[in-house]
């Protein structure tokens, strides 16, 4: 059982969050107060829902003994331009200033004043020299267009399993915002779902890669979950450096509400050979991870005069209808 003890820069240690067992839980998101102009063409044309059989066909590229890291075959990513609309405006570009340099990552609003990202975006002893000193967070950044203001954050959290052990299954963290941007932009629903929910589910991933647009453009791809282990989700979705911290989301009931089930963190190299798959991966939002996210969100929201939904309760997510097999 993982000991998900939150550690926070600059103050250390909070009480360990107890893990629960096998109950599906949802921490509801919220629509923001910022107006939504219609139509949302990116949502209409890009996102996927439900479950499917065969994967979308790919042409795989092998460069001798070196396999491309996280673009699996041909690059199938699409740029999102409507980043002032939901859910794209809940996805944040991160410019991370740390003792050993400046880095780029992605995060997503999971509460009124909380951005969730990969643990290595807030703390990495070797790459960054420890804790980030400052992270510039810009929701919905679109090249030179900034529909929402950039926020400079200086307080972050992650868990001891990442800090002490570099455990890829628990590589997640939080950025505590100086403003309640989630109240304006809205924030994602996050959930701990079952293995059955994840099996063959189509997932969506969107973030700010460095190889396209130098971390200021949102790029999207989708495909199917290949394997879900107790603490990680593996998928055949194209990503690149800079997309660490991107939300991995699904639509469990085939409805309009995106539900984040993982926090993208790794390319192909972090997929265990024993799984015999070519896939990128994310730490999975399990019950105890969800409880930690909720705690961070509630703590941050308490600093502002905003209301938050109640803490997660068990709920049943209806099984989506089986969709037609994809044509190959």
């Amino acid at each position: 059982m993982a000991n998900l003890r939150s550690v926070r820069s600059p103050v250390l240690s909070q009480e360990a969050v107890p893990a629960s067992s096998g109950i599906r839980k949802v921490f509801p998101g919220k629509s923001g107060t910022a107006p939504e102009r219609g139509p949302n063409r990116a949502v209409e044309s890009l996102i996927v829902k439900g479950k499917c059989g065969p994967l979308q066909p790919r042409r795989r590229v092998s460069l001798g003994s070196v396999i491309t890291e996280s673009i699996i075959g041909v690059d199938n990513r699409t740029r999102v331009l409507e980043t002032d609309l939901t859910p794209w405006r809940m996805i944040c570009a991160l410019r991370i200033v740390a003792p050993l340099g400046t880095f780029l990552g992605t995060g997503f609003l999971a509460g009124p004043a909380t951005v969730i990202t990969a643990g290595h975006c807030v703390y990495d002893r070797v790459q960054m020299g420890g804790w980030a000193t400052r992270i510039e967070v810009t929701p919905g950044l679109n090249g030179s267009q900034q529909s929402f203001p950039m926020m400079s954050a200086t307080t972050f959290s992650t868990v001891t399993d990442w800090v002490d052990s570099r455990d890829a299954d628990l590589d997640y963290g939080a950025i505590h915002l100086p403003e309640a941007a989630g109240a304006t932009n809205g924030y994602f629903t996050t959930a701990s779902v079952t293995d059955s929910d994840l099996q063959d589910t189509r997932v969506n991933i969107c973030g700010y890669p460095g190889d396209r647009g130098n971390g200021v453009e949102q790029w999207f791809h989708q495909n199917r979950v290949l394997v879900a282990t107790p603490r990680r989700v593996f998928y055949d979705v194209d990503t690149a450096g800079g997309q660490s911290g991107s939300p991995v989301w699904m639509y469990p009931d085939g409805g309009s509400e995106p539900v984040v089930i993982g926090i993208h963190a790794y390319g192909i190299g972090a997929t265990p050979a024993s799984l015999n798959i070519t896939a990128n991966s994310s730490p999975r939002i399990t019950d105890d991870v969800l409880e930690q996210i909720v705690q961070w969100s509630l703590d941050d929201a308490s600093r502002f005069a905003v209301t938050t939904p109640p803490e997660p309760t068990p709920c049943v997510i209806p099984q989506p209808p089986t969709c037609q097999p994809l044509s190959v």
């Binding site: 460069l63 003994s65 070196v66 396999i67 491309t68 890291e69 996280s70 673009i71 410019r95 991370i96 050993l100 340099g101 400046t102 880095f103 780029l104 990552g105 990969a118 290595h120 975006c121 990495d124 070797v126 790459q127 052990s165 570099r166 455990d167 890829a168 299954d169 590589d171 293995d195 099996q199 890669p209 460095g210 190889d211 130098n214 971390g215 394997v227 879900a228 282990t229 107790p230 603490r231 990680r232 990503t239 690149a240 450096g241 800079g242 997309q243 660490s244 993208h264 963190a265 790794y266 390319g267 190299g269 972090a270 265990p272 024993s274 799984l275 990128n280």
Partner: protein, 94 residues
């Protein structure tokens, strides 16, 4: 479902490098990413300093790094770790 497959990310080695243009001048504010590799690397991107310098943390293995300038030009370099010598990524002329 599969057995648990927990992976502790291997402790990496810091490698210093520089992104330069065709004349050898450093390229500031370029983005460096790991495009391919034989070991686990977090999907973070690195921004070069004013003189084009950067530091990347990589575990033992073989990797290809890519660099992209603000105006969309790119360059690549292959390396193997344990590494010796300076790492240079030359940006191709547009």
């Amino acid at each position: 479902m599969c057995d648990p497959a927990t992976t502790n990310v291997p402790t990496p080695q810091r490698v210093s490098g520089r992104v330069v243009d065709g004349n050898g001048a450093g390229v500031a504010d370029a983005t460096v990413t790991v495009e391919s590799g034989t070991a686990a690397t977090p999907e973070i991107a690195i921004v070069t300093g004013a003189d084009g310098s950067f530091t990347v943390a990589l575990p033992e293995g073989t990797f290809r790094l890519g660099a992209r300038t603000r105006d969309g030009r790119d360059g690549k370099v292959d390396l193997s770790l344990p590494a010796t010598g300076a790492l240079v990524i030359v940006i191709r002329r547009s």
